[in-house]
Amino acid sequence: MSVTTAGASRPASHLPGRTSDRSITLALSILAAIPILLFLLLPLTGILLRGFETPDGFGLGNFVQTFGAERFWRLVGNSISMSLTSTLIAVGLAYFYAYALQRAAIPLKPFLRIAVLTPLFAPSLVQAQGLILLLGRNGALNRFLGFDIDIYGFWGTTIANALYAFPYAYLILSAALAVADARIYESAETLGARPTRIFRDVTLPATRFGLAAAIFVVFTLVMTDFGNPMVIGGDFSVLATEVYNQVIGQAQFGLGAVIGIVLLVPAVLAKLIEKRISSRQHALVTAQSKPLTVKPARGRDIAFSVYAYVIVALILSVLAIVVLASFVRLWPYNMSFTLRHYQFDVQNGTAPLWNSVGVSLATAVLGVAITGLTAIVVHKFRNPLTGPLSMLAILPAAVPGMVLGLGYVLTFNDPANPLNILYGSFALIVILSVYYNHAHAFLISSTSLKQIGSVFDEASTTLGGSTLTTLRKVTLPLLWPTLLGVGVFYFMRTMVSLSAVIFLVTPSTQLAAVSVLQLSDRGALNQAAAFSVCIMAIVVACLVIVRTILWLAGARNVTLIR
């Protein structure tokens, strides 16, 4: 019988017997798989291959040379101690900040929620910029108050990175603290537990998964961040800056690849552990749960208000000082107002800024198309490629931007590679930006698709709609607000991204975040600040525009800042 032979081995949820639909779904799956293989898997294998490539053929030469150097181990020590300290500070402070916002009654929560995310709107070296303007050799404190602070080095890098990673930690912890079952808290209270005890016995255990996730994400982020240590590190070098020096400074691709592999290890480990932990987090909140409502408690609310506002003041002051510096003649000697730093008469003028906008827009469009297609293929068209495809789609979550960028250089500057024609073009930077942010964008689309659920597909199918009709008339119209949100995510991340693209920019493909780095490097602090301000302004403008569009279209609960 045809039924028995045709369908025994296929997954249960598959819709049977549609030859034309089946070939369409397979074709779309292949279409989604090819670019992932070319632009994600190939560069990653490229790094591994180059790490083992020596003048005498394949071998461990690069590893022996790198691991044998005393300097390498000092850098590993620097990286780990700096990252651990940064993580401790960022996650510790972010936990109580998120706690204050979720579990205490404090004034102006919407403002506090947005304000803490502002570092996401700026290139990942703006914290270092701000700290230098504030505490540097010619910083406000040393100059005016007669302090003698030396911020360059371990503490400068650590603090700058902690500020940089704070919003990432906050987003994860806030989500973890948002879900709570009021009944458990009420039980604890009626059993006579005091607030500190409830915190220790109920809140902390319920959020330990979020806490672990935040620690891993922040550690990886800080460990592989490149902008802040470059600007404020001084003589304090870390692995991320060393990769740059090896590859760009000395063209030592093999040695750079080895450090890239070394940086990949903690990122992959962190991701695996995080996945393991989060897979055990289930059913903390069930359908019967009662959401927790915050009851006012004077002492606690005042304490948390003070805390939250101090944190926000710190974060905003670092940004504010950059804005301020962009408007004064010569920080900190001549503080008279001027707009001349916005003339951008040095280097390439405003070209890098518009390049960045163009690249970010292209990334948004291409990224939405690619992640949208991949998510739809994975969730709606089940076939043998589905499993591997969804694994590849979230693989970038474990790959630091710097490492992926390095992989691109190693793979695409090889004249033997037919895709070498892309090398040195904006197109390659766009593609890199798409795949660097692919995991997160894919997860956003997936979540939304899962919420849409299969019932609409089934309804459409039983009414006579084909796969493509369903996609065009039902799925895409429901998905577009999310896809717009994904576009904003790509745009934002690409505008501020530094470590991923640093290896790919050439004199003819300058980008804004890289220009900020070069200007700071040359000591043009005011112009660098003006450039950072422009980047932030563009990102904020984009958020405002898209929020307005969504508001007008009636899609009000789309998260834009991630």
């Binding site: 039924v3 819709l15 309804a459 459409s460 199918t461 039983t462 009709t469």
Partner: protein, 350 residues
């Protein structure tokens, strides 16, 4: 066209959701698949709709095999439990969706949409979005949408279980009225026995992937074939027979008389069944062939009925429910009395 299901098998991994199911659905009839959750009733409906693929067996509609026909070409109207109206389309566009897929011309489509909206009394809601309608309205639009392309059968997957009790009753009547008017073959899945009894021409009771019994509502209530059916439709006391070889039916040491006419089709009798309302309470002095001495264990007052649990003296530990209607004299807790199990009300269960 009659729908004929033969020897259908469906497995999900190790779980057998449909275990050799065979069934005939006559043209124009209203059939309910009834059973507890996980019994396979929804799977059976989904296999008929083409949304799941069977691992074996066949489905034929008026003689032609449906196995190779994809869901979208089977021309069955399906209504889902969650309303499943497309949230981005108005009520009218939802109703017209199946016609759009069939490329009807505009004028014909408009008149059909209007006809369908009139059928479910929602012509005034045509331009509303699903989110602006109540649950009952949405489900009526879903019904109109399923009926619009003139399907050869209507498949309803627990269409009422997400609705409030009052709306549910209204819609029950309305669905049945529409079905009768159009004379369309309809299959409805439900776990609510009252719903099935009220609506169906024929009820298919399912359990663990198998069909327990097929019959009209009256047949199933009066003549349940198995203890499962007896207990699932209404309430029934199941009296396990005394162990050991016997030629009659011995329960609690008493030989019970059973009317053969009421004997079920089961081969090996395992138990006797009796509805709570069929049992009468008598004084301790009463005697007769089917009378057992007992004492009152619990009394529950439920308004129009009073439910009393008694324990036969010769079979302590076995509770038997008795229902008294109206304002009958209610015995006290622990009171000693006798229960009469009328021979014509006793069912042999397999």
């Amino acid at each position: 066209m009659d729908l004929s299901i033969h020897d259908l098998v469906k497995r999900f991994g190790k779980l057998t959701a449909l275990d050799h199911v065979s069934l005939e659905v006559a043209q124009g009839s209203f059939v309910c698949f009834l059973g507890p959750s996980g019994c396979g009733k929804t799977t059976l409906l989904r296999v008929i709709a083409g949304l799941e693929e069977a691992d074996g067996g066949s489905i034929r509609l008026g003689g032609s095999d449906l196995s190779a026909i994809p869901a979208r070409n089977r021309n069955f109207g399906v209504v889902f439990q969650s309303y499943s109206l497309f949230p981005n389309m108005t009520a009218a566009r939802n109703v017209g969706y199946g016609l759009e897929c069939r490329r009807w011309d505009r004028a014909r489509m408009q008149s059909r949409i209007k006809e369908m909206l009139d059928l479910v009394h929602l012509a005034d809601q045509a331009e509303k979005l699903p989110s602006q309608m109540s649950g009952g309205q949405q489900q009526r639009i879903a019904l109109a949408r399923a009926l619009a392309p003139d399907p050869s059968a209507l498949l309803l997957d627990e269409p009422l279980s997400a609705l409030d009790a009052k709306v549910r009753e209204e819609l029950r009547v309305e669905i049945r009225a529409v079905q009768k008017r159009l004379g369309i073959t309809t299959i409805m899945v439900t776990h609510d026995q009252e719903e099935a009894l009220a609506m169906a021409d024929l009820i298919v009771v399912m359990s663990k992937g198998r069909i327990e019994q097929i019959g009209t509502p009256q047949q199933l209530y009066r003549e349940p074939a198995t203890a499962f059916v007896a207990d699932f439709i209404g309430r029934m006391n199941v009296l396990p027979l005394d162990p050991g070889p016997q030629d009659g039916f011995r329960f609690a040491g008493t030989q019970l008389e059973v009317r053969t006419a009421a004997k079920g089709p089961g081969t090996a009798p395992a138990a006797l069944g009796i509805r709570p309302e069929a049992i009468t309470l008598k004084g301790t002095e009463a005697a007769g062939p089917n009378v057992l001495p007992a004492s009152v264990r619990t009394v529950t007052f439920l308004g129009n009925i009073t439910r009393i649990e008694v324990e036969p003296d010769t079979r302590p530990g076995t509770g038997i429910l008795v229902e008294l209607h109206g304002m009958a004299r209610v015995p006290a807790l622990g009171e000693r009395l006798a229960i009469d199990l009328p021979a014509e009300a006793l069912r042999v269960l397999s």
